[in-house]
Amino acid sequence: MKKFLAFVNKEIHHIFRDKRTLLLLFCMPIVLVILFGFAITTEIQDAKIVILDKSNDPATREIKNKILSSGYFKLKRVLTSERALEQAFQEGDTKLAIVFEENFYQHLEKHNMATVQVIADATEPNTASTLTNYISAILRDYQQTRQVTGVMPLQIQTETRMLYNPRLEGAYYFVPGVITVILLLVSAMMTSVTIAREKEFGNMEILLVSPLHPIAIILGKAIPYVSIALINALTVLYIGYAIFDMPLTGNLGLLLLECLLFISTSLSLGILISTVTDTQQTALLASMLGLMMPSVLLSGFIFPIESMPTVLQWISNIIPSKWFIIISKDIMLKGAGMATIWQETLILAGTTVLLILASVAKFKIRLE
């Protein structure tokens, strides 16, 4: 045990010597949460629009007023001809064009029907949909104010409640994912690279002939990173709570236990990678492309899994991060207990065992 502790101590010293990496290790989670929370928002404000008003009468002026005072839109410029529309869009920042037909007011008064054209730059489809939805709502509102009685007949209202995240904070959605990626990065990528480094410089043989058991060597290399990973997870949680008022509805102890489980899964992934690679470069690229990218993209961290094609939904099932993200969201936001998340927990535990068995098998073959 003493020997083992001495070894862990050496590894810790090793990590602390590389100040730059250490700094990044501790800054990365903070920067990521803040970026995700503040910057990655799909809440639209001040979308630039152009208006082509061929009538310029009381009705169109009132509608324009309503649109521009809604807070969602900002007038980029007033166009005078249809030909200018294309140019406006090609400049790149025009999101929407509104074209009122001629004699809008007269049509509305005489025929009870007037036409307005809403042209959206649909290169970003969600922005386009959201903006046209806002415009529809504003126009509906306008129609209502034109009712003589002021009350629309047969009015169906909708009382909406946003569950788990009433203010639609981006952070709520991203924090569990950020924790996942950080845990994976620190425990899988860093471990695999450290071991590959020892191999590359030929130190692994020296360690293997030492009285330390190979498993102790691997553990010794992993323990410092596990501690860093846990500190990171807590940092992210704290920032989510302190800056974004993100609640922790469930049990913190349970969450930390699940974190430890996921750290073990990542560690075993990292170890497996290091048993099949020989150089740092290979280990880095393998963990980058084989682990990080799928975990960022196919785990439901950023993109909802339900929107993916069926094949990708299947693939997502073999990505451990997906299960951990579900677990952490359930605990943090829905206050779920073991009763809800036992299946996901079991999947992670099973994966970990499988991965460890695979790397032990691989390791033995190498030694023989």
Partner: protein, 373 residues
């Protein structure tokens, strides 16, 4: 200048001899481009809706039918009490729960006013917001229809209708991939370029060959140039294959000028490869270089407008995107490929990457020391 050619030859030999590197350079990007373009989908369709109909009136069934008819929502389950609504929500079996309360139609007819209750799982705020908007649009539509039917002759108080014609330019079918594919393509090539150049010089430092190079008469800028050219060529090949995937597999339109794009892409590649080189010259180990590159790339990617529009970001964040080369590239690709923007509209983007290219390569040359301090 001839020395540069020898360095380029050496780099190519090493790259093509690396069994592991080749697939990463020439196969991985396309697998990822295809995979990611399908995965990176914020398209909101087929949301699961759970309905609690406590009214059983004809109108309530008409409304449910109408919702079911839209591509946005799939009726996943139904129940009669609110608590089971919460339960399916917690188990993630529904994204929305719609409750039609008892006497819904009765109130509507009698009081001219009635209310529905809607619960939305808002963990994904974006999705929740859009789902809310879509469902409300459907309900309003239904409402309007109902009015038209129920009040046969709107003689008393005529309903004034503003007829809205919607047009979706550049992407009429609202295909999310048009938006994402050109951006993912440049991002992937950027990643490969920065990672590989980032690891390259520092690898020579770690192996020790850098000292052998440093005692030679090679000029510093020749060294950087010799390291840049091979990856530049590889990146261009990747761009070409990627563009073919975009055009022929995803059928993304290419409205603008090809040569304008090539001009930009070349400047852009020099800029990001210079960045990788700079990272490599400041790093001591490959691990460090990888970490710095990863950190930068992930921030650049998230703040590039690829996934969420830059205009939505707070002011300080928008300011950060001005030093983000990926943001320029994503914007450029969308403008030229999809909207057909010409030189006058994109001149500022070309200017920005040119400045970036000069800055990053100057920094790399300046920071590369043949003599240690």
């Amino acid at each position: 200048m001839k020395t540069v050619l020898y360095l380029v030859q050496k780099e190519f030999l090493q790259i093509f001899r690396n069994r592991f590197l080749l697939p990463i350079l020439f196969i991985m990007p396309f697998v990822q481009l295809i995979l990611l373009s399908y995965a990176a989908n914020f398209e909101i369709k087929h949301l699961k809706i759970h309905v609690i109909n406590q009214d059983f009136s004809p109108v309530s069934y008409q409304l449910i039918n109408k919702i079911q008819g839209s591509t946005y929502f799939d009726l996943s389950s139904a129940s009669l009490d609110v608590s089971s609504g919460y339960r399916v929500m917690e188990k993630d079996e529904a994204d929305l729960v719609l409750r039609i309360p008892p006497n819904f139609e009765k109130h509507l007819r009698k009081d001219n006013q009635t209310a529905l209750q809607l619960l939305i799982n808002a963990i994904n705020g974006t999705q929740a917001g859009l789902a809310n908007a879509y469902l409300n649009a459907i309900i309003n539509d239904f409402n309007q229809q109902l009015r038209m039917e129920s009040i046969p002759s709107p003689a008393g108080s005529p309903l004034a209708v503003v007829n809205v014609e919607y047009r979706n330019w550049f992407n009429p079918l609202l295909d999310y991939k048009f938006n994402i594919v050109p951006g993912i393509l440049v991002t992937l090539v950027t990643m490969i370029g920065v990672f590989l150049t980032g690891l390259n010089i520092v690898r020579e430092k770690e192996i020790g060959t850098i000292e052998q190079l440093n005692v030679t008469t090679m000029k510093k800028h020749h060294f950087i140039l010799g390291k840049l050219i091979p990856f530049w060529i590889i990146a261009l090949i990747d761009i070409f294959i990627g563009l073919s995937v975009a055009l022929f597999w995803f059928e993304v339109p290419f409205v603008g000028s090809f040569w304008l794009m090539m001009l930009f892409i070349n400047l852009y590649m020099i800029a990001v490869l210079g960045l990788g080189m700079f990272i490599s010259t400041i790093s001591h180990t490959q691990q460090q270089a990888m970490f710095v590159s990863f950190f930068l790339i992930i921030i650049f990617m998230l703040m590039s407008g690829l996934f969420t529009p830059i205009e939505n970001m707070p002011y300080w964040a928008q300011w950060i995107t001005r030093i983000n080369p990926i943001a320029y590239a994503v914007e450029f690709m969308r403008m030229v490929m999809l909207r057909g923007s010409g030189l006058p509209e994109v001149a500022h983007l070309i200017g920005a990457v040119t400045v970036f290219a000069i800055a990053s390569n100057t920094l790399a040359v300046w920071n590369y020391r043949k003599t240690a301090q």
